[in-house]
Amino acid sequence: MNKLKKIFATDSYIVPLVAIILGFLVGAAVMLIGGYDPIAAYGALFKRVFGSAYDFGEAIREMTPLMLTGLSVAFAFRSGMFNIGADGQVLIGMTAASVIGIKLAGLPTFLLVPLAVIGAGLFGGMWAGIAGYLKAKRGINEVITTIMLNWVALYLANYIVRTFLLIPGQNRSEDIPASMSLTFLNSIFDNARLHWGTVIALAAAVFFYIYLWKTKQGFEMRAVGLNSHAAEYAGMNVRRNVMKSMFIAGVFAGLAGAGEVLGVFHYQSVFAGSPGYGFDGIAVALLGLTHPFGVILAAILYGMLTYGSAGMSFNADVPPELIRIVIGSIIFFIAAQGIVRWVLKPFYFKRKKEKVL
């Protein structure tokens, strides 16, 4: 993992850019093979995103949880952990926000909403903290534990919703009175479901940056992430840092969950399967080179792609899953940078030609 960090630490922005282009090319090739028109499809994709104020607002809504889960994965990554569990942390955050939002509905709004949001962050953090604890104290690979915890979180969230919050006869909770919606923007964005979560996400990125690169604790965390042995020799408490970083990563993911239930849906469903927030977060984090501001940019791109894929499917009849192939390819090219360099060098002019394609 250190090796990767080294690669990601280099100031080369060209690689992710080329990787994105290559990813789109792979997608185009797949569409051509499938008998679709890639230009029409990509055109429909972008038209969907920028076509109307409502759609643009909804695209921002789509980006918001991606920003937070991306930050979650990236933050853990910076201290040497691979957090595949953002999915479960989102679910736990959602559930905490729903429970607080419904059960404490008597409280005044200015108390209730912050309480629900903070609760979501805390519980998300603690859920991730389990994996952090197991890693720190028992040396158990966090990749496996976070994946398992995702499933446990799914069933736990469903259990809580079904048992305590359910509208009888339906597969969802009661409406949540606490709301994070940015209602004053309704007229501008044609009632798109914008909410405070976006502001929280941007603030989280700034926090991420300042915390990691400007504070004492961040110094420790980066040292632990880059070389835990040296950090230990220098007197840093590696285990505490591992748990702390997983906790903070979980807080980010938990906040994403709060945004979804308090800002978008205003209720919580019983999920049949993994909602997939966390896996998108991995893609966003890797795409953003695990830098907070890179993550924001990556979330914007990813959000546009996933939101726009509905338009692509509607107007060009291309299955929206294609976007996953595009994103998977982009990460593939970023992870295997050698391929990008290899493509860049001898085929430099050829690549230019293909771009027009």
Binding site: P319, E321, I331, F332, I339
Partner: protein, 318 residues
């Protein structure tokens, strides 16, 4: 619960274990050669998809009895191709193996569903196929309890158990196994003795794709009969846990896979117990996942992992 149910439960345990055994054996090949394969989940997905599609077209073409086997062959081939992506990225281009494996999972999820929609006019899953039927082993299957439990099962299950022995033999008794393990423990030692490190790793990863592919195929061909987005949901990761719990040894992984298979099977039978009525179904669903964590906590962790696991081989850093 009576003896009959116990036999059935054994049987179901083996059915669920089969996919895990194949995938865990695959994981062993990859990781023994030094390449982390978190992409097992995606490789199983490739296999499950290919088996459903291959099986469907074979059945459609009239190869009734051969259809499932054609499905298995397709799964092997597609699994190998999927694994090849992982191998190219992580071995040739020295990408981080965990990330490369994650990419496999991404690509598998995207491309299989894309293809399903493409091939079957926008449908969310493949058409239902017959798959394998159970094949009782003569004489043995007549033994009470154990007979119906162990000796009346799908051919893939028998194959999985035979394969455990074959893989064990291959790893610990043959030159191939010695070289594969050497490459995972100390690649530069192997290199200086003329063993081609990267080639061995390619073989390890591709074998893992083949076996994980078969593992995925067994799920469509024996359990679901169709491939949809949730056909593979975590089995690949549980197979990884089985491999770790089994200390990267085929026999150990077999035991662990059966254990996890049992914890999945128990879901179907737990309602037969009176006390289970008081337990919410979600908690029963959690069992395999919670068990995995508990097992990992109690197992020794990575101490018996191949020493060079996760490290790309760079000859200049000898």
């Amino acid at each position: 619960m009576d003896w009959l149910t116990l036999g059935q439960m054994l049987n179901t345990t083996l059915v669920f274990s089969t996919a895990l055994i194949f995938a865990a054996l695959g994981g062993i090949f990859s990781e023994r050669s030094g390449v982390v394969n978190i992409g097992l989940e995606g490789l199983m997905m490739f296999g499950a998809f290919a088996a459903a599609v291959g099986g469907y077209y074979a059945q459609d073409a009239g190869y009734e009895t051969m259809a499932p086997w054609i499905g298995v062959l397709c799964a092997m081939a597609v699994g190998v191709i999927g694994a090849l992506i992982h191998a190219v990225a992580s071995i040739t281009f020295k990408a981080d193996q965990t990330i490369s494996g994650t990419v496999i999972n991404f690509l598998a999820a995207g491309s299989t569903l894309y293809l399903v929609k493409l091939l079957f006019e926008g449908a969310g899953e493949t058409p239902l196929i017959d798959g394998f039927s159970k094949y009782p082993i003569p004489v043995l299957s007549k033994i009470p309890v154990i007979g119906p439990g162990l000796f009346n099962n799908y051919p893939t299950t028998y194959l999985a158990i035979i394969l455990v022995i074959v893989v064990y033999f291959l790893l610990f008794k043959t030159p191939f196994g010695l070289r594969l393990r050497a490459v995972g423990e100390h690649p530069s030692a192997a290199d200086t003795l003329g063993v081609n490190v990267n080639r061995m790793r390619y073989v390890g990863v591709m074998l893992s794709g083949m076996l994980a592919g078969i593992g995925g195929a067994t799920i469509t061909l024996t359990t679901t009969g169709t491939f949809a987005h949730n056909t593979i949901s975590g089995q690949g990761f549980i197979a990884i846990a089985a491999m770790i719990f089994g200390k990267w040894n085929p026999l150990g992984a077999f035991g662990a896979a059966v254990f996890f298979g049992f914890s999945q099977a128990i879901r179907n039978y737990v309602q037969l117990f009176g006390w289970s009525q008081s337990i919410p179904q979600e908690f029963i669903y959690m069992i395999p996942y919670v068990l995995t964590i508990i097992v990992l906590v109690s197992a020794v962790g990575r101490s018996s992992a191949p020493s060079a696991l996760g490290q790309p081989y760079d000859p200049s850093k000898r």
